[in-house]
Amino acid sequence: MSKTTVTTNRWRTVDVVVAAVIAVTFGVIFWAWGLLWNVVTPAFAFLPATQAIMYGVWLIPAVLGGLVIRRPGAALFCETVAAVVSVLLGSEWGSITILQGLSQGIGAELAFAAFRYRSFRRPTALLAGALTGLGAAVFDFFVWNGEYALGSYRIPYALLTIASATAIAGVGAWSLTRALAKTGVLDRFPAGRERTTI
């Protein structure tokens, strides 16, 4: 994997639209996932921090966008658009979701930037997952969880968020990219051209 790099940094139309489509599709999936999230909340009632295990799903578009589009800004763009879309679809959290999306997208973006947008292997994906989880954890730590006990709630919640993001958003997005490449839909992207010709 990953020898192919993008020569120019100008986004083609297909990069813009497919990045947005990934974000929009996850906006729709989030909408379904949000229903599920609320349904299972009672099940986690006695150890609410453990619900962070499911957190990674919200962060997949950031890592997936970076892995598929492979351009500076892709991770940030995907996660932000996904947040805007879920706001437009009537997310109950309102416009603050956009800030949350930004803080999560920046995490993944930093990971890809750290490899100078040259490596899109599993370790990069893991790092991107972990950092986007960190972005999310920091936001929640201060903004939403400020009133909860530090040792028994805030810190476990933050750590679980990062673990979940690494596993679900990092490994998940990496496997998802490979599965997508096999279907042929990524043929116009470097990620899709790494499969064998037929």
Partner: protein, 265 residues
């Protein structure tokens, strides 16, 4: 999923520039998120509800959209009862590990009110804003790059199609003899495989859409012109300033009454 604005479009504040409305909502949310006390959000919610008619949004519509927040409110209460950082005040209930004090309840009230106060402005803006107008205003007034704004807008148009497609894929699974029955694990697997098929189809559509957009000159290096003008006038500036003043005033009252509790520190 409803993508159409649900407000009367001629209401005085609904007519404001979408960028101004978005900025006002964000500003309001950011200021209000800075405190944890019940007073400031309570004032803000009262003002937000009082302004509702000026946005042309009916209370019923707003209530329906904000309904899921009630579930989250219960979540906050449960979490606080179990994990509150401080348990000051009079003891109300004491049963084994459960210790509910008046302080815990006031904190919970503060958090729940804050959540509503922060969410409402965004919900109101969404209810009164057409996505096309938002993209136009983001390009013309906020100077966002047109390629990104209209690329995202074109993708957004696929949302209702994707919702239909989700139904279609589920039916196709059934036609192939695949259903989950009552097994929760099988349900999760089916959710995953349906979502994957949806994503594949969506990316394929997106690729075709991008080609169609290029065929109509979207990728041309010539500067784009605008067919729909968005104005950003004095009234729009006033809306943003007004939002800041209102949220700031709510905060000031809470500081003056001594209930103010900053988020950090």
């Amino acid at each position: 999923m409803n993508l159409e604005p649900v407000a009367r479009p001629d209401a005085p504040l609904a007519r404001r520039n979408p960028v101004a409305k978005l900025a006002a909502a964000l500003l309001c949310s950011i200021i209000l998120i800075a405190t944890l006390d019940p007073v400031a959000p309570a004032i803000a919610i009262a003002v937000e509800l009082a302004l509702l008619p000026l946005f042309g949004v009916r209370l019923r519509v707003l209530a329906r959209r904000a309904l899921p927040l009630l579930v989250s409110a219960v979540g906050i209460l449960v979490t606080l009862v179990l994990f509150a950082a401080e348990r000051s005040g009079r003891i109300l209930v004491e049963a084994g590990p459960f210790l509910i004090t008046s302080g815990v309840l006031i904190t919970a009230l503060g958090l729940v009110l804050r959540m509503f106060a922060v969410a409402l402005p965004g919900v109101i803006v969404v209810a009164t804003t057409d996505p096309t107008d938002l993209a136009d205003a983001l390009v013309q007034n906020a100077k966002l790059p047109a390629r990104f704004a209209y690329g995202a807008l074109a993708a957004f148009r696929l949302v209702p199609l994707l919702a239909q497609e989700w139904q279609m894929i589920s039916m196709a699974r059934r036609a192939r003899g695949v259903d989950a029955g009552r097994n929760p694990l099988a349900r999760l697997r089916l959710f995953g495989s349906t979502a994957f098929t949806l994503l594949v189809g969506a990316i394929r559509r997106g690729t075709r859409l991008a080609v169609a957009m290029d065929a109509r000159g979207f990728d041309a290096m010539t500067p784009r012109s605008v067919a729909r003008r968005q104005h950003f006038g004095r009234a729009d500036g006033l809306l943003i300033a007004g939002a800041a003043v209102l949220a700031g005033a709510a905060l000031a009252v809470s500081i003056a009454t001594g209930t103010f509790r900053p988020l950090i520190g």
